[in-house]
Amino acid sequence: MGTAQDTPLVSGGVGFITQTNGGNTTYLPVISPLAAAPLGKHLLFESRATLVESFSPKGNGEPGYDHSFFTGLSFAQLDYLGGKHLTVVGGEFLTPFGTYNERLTPIWISNFASAPLIFSLGTMGTGSGLGGMVRGPAWSSGSVSVDYAAYFSAASTNEQIQTQRSTGAKAEVYFPRKRLELGTSYGRRIERAHENFVGAHAWWEPSEIPVKLRSEYAHGEHAQGYWVETDFRFSRSTAMATPLTRLEPVFRWQQTFRSSPDPNDGLPTADAQRADFGLDYHFPHEVRINTSYSRQFSSTGNRNVWETGIVYRFLFPTWRGK
């Protein structure tokens, strides 16, 4: 790779999201910038942050809005591309458990504004770790590849970097011709009450038809659950799309099962089922509108969740070249 192609880049998304959950509405302007900068042939620095201002009506007949501001680093890591089979990562990184955390959390990628109900299982709550990780393709051919990741994280209570002392590993087998991936994950929190997490995932995205089928299962000592998501993209190319084929219907089904109380794991306090119906629209120039309606069923009460968001994705070099 020549250095002429290795200019540092800034990418990310700017969005405005509204969410009405059980009758309570929240407005969320959000910016999520990502930076990537190669440092020579083998080193890459990359980082993603999230800045969100949350507004919600005061309620009880009071005028005005309550609001709060949140900033956080999703990752800020230095990667050493050590060889064919090894990348060494140091710094703050996304916890490699399942698929959602590492692949689908960027606001310009995710089909739904809200994460799956089981998101916090195995990702140690915040989704980030602080320490070291090794990862890469263990074996790769034209018909199958085997990937791995293993990490150790220290605890951090810094306002922008919140992580837990934990360790874990992930392995997946991908059949590129079938576009089928199967994987398994393990995580162990090693602070306060130690807890083990195991997970499994399956993705299938047949090349013949523009349908994606993604699923993930996670098990913790206090709860477990799964989600299955499918979407249909009429046209994979925004540039070639017609107004109708810019639509992307999305459906996600989720279930969580509570075995014992845990106020900190972020899952519903009782068994829950949730159906998410989404409709995304891809405008030209990297603008997308996401809309969704969800119905959540639980013994503690059923609720409706409405979400609408508009997201603009940007991608450009940090400086102009000659």
């Binding site: 700017v14 990537a36 590492e102 790769s140 070249g321």
Partner: protein, 102 residues
């Protein structure tokens, strides 16, 4: 300066600045992969083992192809994807050649 002002300033810079930067780079921007080729959603078969096929098999699984970008960041994008998608060295080379054939 409060965090809120940083947030607002950064937002304005990104929203107003990115199209300007993109416009400045226009002559050098790599056209969208979909503009150079026909729609991948169609039944056209891509060449076995090509960079285009590897892009579809790895990168397009999670996100849609960007509509265009400067060729000067093609190598950075591929390095980023090599870590994110655990690309093999060969796949990364093929995808780079596809993104920036010059």
């Amino acid at each position: 300066m409060s965090a809120r002002w940083v947030f607002l300033t950064l937002g304005l810079v990104l929203i107003t600045g990115s199209p300007v930067l993109a416009q400045n780079d226009k002559p050098a921007v790599v056209p969208a992969m979909s503009e150079r080729k026909s729609d991948p959603a169609e039944s056209r078969r891509v060449e076995e083992g090509s960079g285009e096929q590897k892009f579809q098999q790895n990168c397009s699984r999670c996100h849609h192809a960007p509509e265009g970008f400067s060729p000067r960041i093609a190598g950075t994008i591929v390095k980023h994807m090599r870590v994110r998608a655990s690309l093999s060295e060969k796949d990364a080379r093929d995808i780079l050649r596809y993104l920036n054939p010059q």
